[in-house]
Symmetry: C14
Subunit: 89 residues, 14 copies
């Protein structure tokens, strides 16, 4: 098992775990906010526009933490600097 293989194996496993772990928190956080939004709309229908707008802006911020993970995951698969340097030798 040469150098390239070690880096490839580590990148594959790390890429999977990163997005796998990272999506748990985002999904739970968004689900909670969404549940509360629906409850608030039912309680105060006149504020549905404000609630929906705040919900989606906020969910975009929560989603951003999953996107960080997705970005790192993609970098490790398609733009891995360690892999590039080793294969270019």
């Amino acid at each position: 098992m040469d150098q390239q293989t070690w880096v490839a194996v580590a990148s594959v496993i790390s890429a999977g775990l990163t997005i796998g772990l990272g999506s748990i928190g985002s999904a739970l956080g968004e689900g909670r906010a969404l549940a509360q939004a629906l409850s608030s709309i039912a309680q105060q229908p006149d504020e549905a526009a404000t609630i929906t707008r705040t919900l989606f802006v906020g969910m975009a911020m929560v989603e951003s933490t999953a996107i960080y993970c997705f970005v790192v995951s993609m970098i490790l698969i398609f733009a891995n600097p360690f892999w590039n340097q080793m294969t270019s030798q």
Copy 2:
């Protein structure tokens, strides 16, 4: 066990864990939002249309984190750049 085998084994295990872990958060988050939506419809039937629309748009966002995991899982199985480079040598 040569280089290809190591990468194949790592890809297979990582692909499974990625979607396995990633679906837990999404399913729980969507289940919670869905439960609250049904409760809100029962409480405020006149707002059923708004609640249902917000629910499905929001669930699409929560689903997106599971889809990130599914995408990474598919990339690791069918478009794995490390595997392609090694088999093309």
Copy 3:
């Protein structure tokens, strides 16, 4: 233990864990939504039709995350590209 065996062992274990982990979240999420649906029907019987329809559409979305896992599990068992490439050599 040659190359094929390693890939076979990894595929078997990964296929099992993927659907095993993936069904936990879905089952819990669907159970929660179902429980709330029954509570809402009891509370607001006139809305039973809307609640039931929303419930089953929503459960289909929650089920989808389990289905992603089932798909990956089936791919790893019956359409594993790493296995196919190795046995075709």
Copy 4:
């Protein structure tokens, strides 16, 4: 320990864990829905027919995730493609 034995050992362990893990979520989810159904019947006896029908259709969907696990478990024991290919050599 030859190739066949490794695949057999992996299949046996994986088959057990798959259904073992997969039944936890289903059983908890169904138990929760069932508990709520009984509570709803006591609260609104006139809707017992609707509640019971929704309960059993919904439990069938929750059960489906356990059945995915059971199917994968049976495939690994009785229709394992890796095992078949190796023993047919």
Copy 5:
């Protein structure tokens, strides 16, 4: 340690863990439903017949997930196809 022993050891351990894990979810789910049933009978004694009937049909469904585990556990001990094939050689 020859081939048969490995398969026997794996089957013994897997059979125990399968039913051990699988009974946790079922027992907790049934306990919860049973507790709620007793509470509902106390609250609405006139519906005791409906509640009890729904309870036992529902518990049979929850029990089914434990029975899947018990079936897999028995198959691994008494009808293990890997063991049979190896001892018949």
Copy 6:
């Protein structure tokens, strides 16, 4: 360490863990149901007979999952087919 010893060691450890894990769920589930039964009797003393009867029938079903584990545990200790086959050789 010959074949028999491996099977014996695996059977001993597996038998202990099976009943050890399996009794946790049953005990917690029965405890919960029992606690609710006592609460219901205090709330509705006239229904004590119905509640007690439902309680003990239900606890028998919950107990059944622990009994599955106990049966598997006894089989592994006293009627282990792998052990019998090996010692009869």
Copy 7:
């Protein structure tokens, strides 16, 4: 380390873990039922006799799961069939 020692070591560790794990669930379940019984007696002193009787019959059933573990633990220490067979050789 010969055969006997392996079986002895496995039996000692397994016996301890079995009763150690098995007592956790029983103790928590009995504690919960006992707590509820005391609360119910305070709430409905006239039913103290019925409550106490149901409590102790129910606790005996919960205790039974701990006793299964204790029985397995004692069998592994004092009536271990694997140990007996090996020492009688």
Copy 8:
């Protein structure tokens, strides 16, 4: 490291873990029952005698699971049959 040492090491570790694990459940269960008893006495001082008597009989049953662990722990240290047989050889 000869046979005796292995058995001694296993007995020492197992004895400690057994009582360590076993006391957790008992202590939590008794603490819960005791807390409820104090609450019930404050609520219904006239029933203090009945509550206290039921409390201590019940706690003795909860304590019994810790005592099973203590007994196994003492047996492993002072009356270990495996150790006795080996040192008597």
Copy 9:
């Protein structure tokens, strides 16, 4: 590393873990009971004497599980029969 050292190392680690694990449950259980006692005294000051007496007798029973652990821990350090037998040889 001779026989004595193995037994000494195992005794040291086991003694520490035993009391470390065993004190968690006791401390939490006693803390819960104490908290409830203070709440009950504030609610029913006239029963302070009965509550305090029941509290301390009950805490002594909860403490007893920690004392079992402490006793086993002390036995393993100062009266370890395995160590004594080995050093007396």
Copy 10:
């Protein structure tokens, strides 16, 4: 496996875990705050401007902990001083 490879493997795994773990807390914390914000808007619509402003300033602070993790993750991938020093030798 030379020095560079070890550092590369460690950096790849560490970068993934850092952002994976770090995004869990942020996403859950932001989801909770967002849920409460929606509830507060529904309860007090006149304060929607103040609530929304405080929400987004606060979420930026919660987001900052995820950003620390993202920064460390990026440093480990693109500006790793250990890697630079080793490749410059």
Copy 11:
């Protein structure tokens, strides 16, 4: 690595874990009791003297479980009988 070093290493690690684990339960239990005491004083200021006295006597009992751990930890560091016997040889 001779005998003394093994015992020293085991004592150092065990001493740290013992007090580390043991302080968790005590601190949580005392914190809970203290929180309830403050709540009770606010609710019933006239009983502040009784509450405070009971609180500190009770906390001393909870503290005692942490002190058992501290004593074992100190014995392992400063009065370790295994270490003394080995260094005196």
Copy 12:
């Protein structure tokens, strides 16, 4: 693998875990405080200024624990005294 590589690998992994673990608590704690602040503003709009000021001063204190972790993480990457001493030899 020489001395420098070991220290580099340990520093890379430790730096990642430190900030990864450290951000979980901070993010959850800040999210909780922020959620309560929004709730309090909705409840008592006249105190919005005091609440917001206390919130941000408090969040800075909670943030400080994440900053300790970030500082240690940066020291391990850019000012590691062990690495400096070894590379200066």
Copy 13:
């Protein structure tokens, strides 16, 4: 790796884990008590002096468990008797 190094490595790791684990319980316990104290002051401002005094005396007792850990941690770093004896040889 000689004797001194083993003891040094064990002391360094143990010292860190001891205070790391020990501070979790204390911080959570003190945070809970502090939160309740603030709630009690808001509820009963006239008792602020008594509450604050009881709070800080109680927090000192909770803090004491963290201080035990800190003391053990310092002893392991600066006054380690095993290290002293070995370096003085």
Copy 14:
């Protein structure tokens, strides 16, 4: 790998884990107290000064447990007595 490297590796990993674990409890405890403080100010604005003062004195005590960890972490990096003694030889 010589003596110095082992101590350096252990110090680096231990320093990171110490502050990483230690900041979790502090951050959660402070977040809880802060959340309650904001709630109390909203409920009793006239006591804002007393509440804020008690909050920050109390948070300083909670912070102190994180500071113990930070101190140990810094000692392990910059004033490690084991490292100093070894490098001075």
